[in-house]
């Protein structure tokens, strides 16, 4: 039985797809058979971040509508053995996603995989609700910014009421807070919410903190999830996050402003 983890946020553009790709990659690198599914029907992105856009033939909707089998639609990752991608449809509309269809697909994937990562679309409508519906755990991606935090709280409300675990009165979905695009320098100057404040407001367990990092754009340019860039702060922060998802106790990093050394101050060494 696979563990189903939804990566969700409410607000758009906060780093869900980046995080879903990075976490799926990290879990697979740790030896877990992992599939990452793009639920953003009509606006697929995950294939680009995973660098497999030219190998997309069939998609989630094709599978749901019986036009292709799972094994035809899933793309095997080039870099990591036990990692698969199930892309979203670019052309069909969201209504093609049905609850029964999603349940069926997740059911068959469950037999084969250890982890199923669902990359949710933005918003709190149908697409986002379907992405979270069957989840066992949720990674709530939040930027240190008011509208993102408010939307995360809306999402927490949905997780605790509109999901299968909620409807069936089962043990609630395990909620994790993932703060991304964190800039300790701006926190220090008082212009950015700090992580304790965000945690206090949302009152859920912090699973990771990803700093604002140039490595993320570089990774998406290349179509290589940032987890592979182990020189980078963001790459390391995602590895830490994956370890915590696996139940390990890993100290927090990258939450304090780096004291710049003399040389980097002279030559303006950017953050890696």
């Amino acid at each position: 039985m696979a563990k189903i983890i939804v990566v969700t946020s409410g607000k758009g553009g906060v780093g869900k797809t980046t995080s879903a790709a990075a976490i799926a990659t990290g879990l697979a690198l740790r030896g877990n058979k992992t599939v990452v599914i793009d639920f953003d029907v009509g606006l697929r992105n995950l294939d680009l971040i995973m660098g497999c856009e030219r190998r997309v033939v069939y998609d989630l909707i094709n599978v749901i509508q019986g036009e292709a089998g799972l094994n035809q639609a899933m793309i095997r990752d080039k870099r990591v053995d036990n990692l698969h991608i199930l892309p979203a449809s670019q052309t069909r509309d969201k209504d093609a996603l049905t609850e029964e269809g999603v349940e069926r697909v997740l059911g068959s994937l469950s037999e084969e995989f250890d982890y199923i990562i669902c990359d949710s679309p933005a918003g709190i409508e149908r697409g986002a609700q379907l992405a979270m519906h069957f989840a066992d755990e949720a990674v709530v991606v939040t930027n240190p910014e008011v509208s993102s935090v408010r939307d995360s709280d809306r999402i927490l409300g949905l997780l605790s009421s509109k999901t299968r675990r909620a409807e069936k009165n089962q043990e609630p979905i395990k909620e994790h807070l993932l703060i991304t695009r964190y800039d300790p320098m701006r926190v220090d100057s008082g212009d950015m919410l700090n992580l304790q404040d965000i945690q206090e407001i949302l009152a859920i367990n912090l699973i990771g903190l990803i700093p604002e990092s140039e490595a993320v754009l570089r990774a998406s340019n290349q179509g290589v999830p940032v987890t592979h860039d182990q020189q980078s702060d963001a790459g390391q922060a995602y590895v830490d996050t994956v370890s915590r998802l696996l139940g390990e106790d890993v100290p927090l990093r990258f939450h304090e402003a780096q004291k710049k050394g003399f040389l980097s101050r002279m030559f303006g060494g950017g953050r890696r």
Binding site: R150, D153, S160, V187, G190, D191, M192, L193, N194, I201
Partner: protein, 84 residues
């Protein structure tokens, strides 16, 4: 120096203002969780009725539904403007 201090303090404020605003918003959102879907509509209509008699602001009214053992209590709070 004085000016710099002042500017610094001003800047300190933006994140803490954000925090205070969020605490209020989130408390409000959480208060509404698990309430029946008709509550916002009920609140709007009650406000309309009250406004036929008294001039009150949009936020002068708050309603909540509390469930106790065998009954639910609808609590309605209306702040009326000062007389005079």
């Amino acid at each position: 120096m004085k000016l710099l201090d002042f500017l610094k303090r001003e800047r300190k404020k933006s994140a803490s203002v954000a925090k205070e605003r969020l605490q209020i918003i989130v408390a409000h959102q959480r208060g509404q969780r698990g309430q029946p879907d008709y509550m916002p509509m009920l609140e709007r209509e009650l406000l309309e009725v009250i406004r036929r008699y008294v001039e009150v602001e949009q936020d002068a009214i708050s309603i909540s539904l509390d469930s106790e053992d065998d009954c639910s209590v609808l609590e309605l709070n209306v702040t009326l403007p000062n007389r005079g």
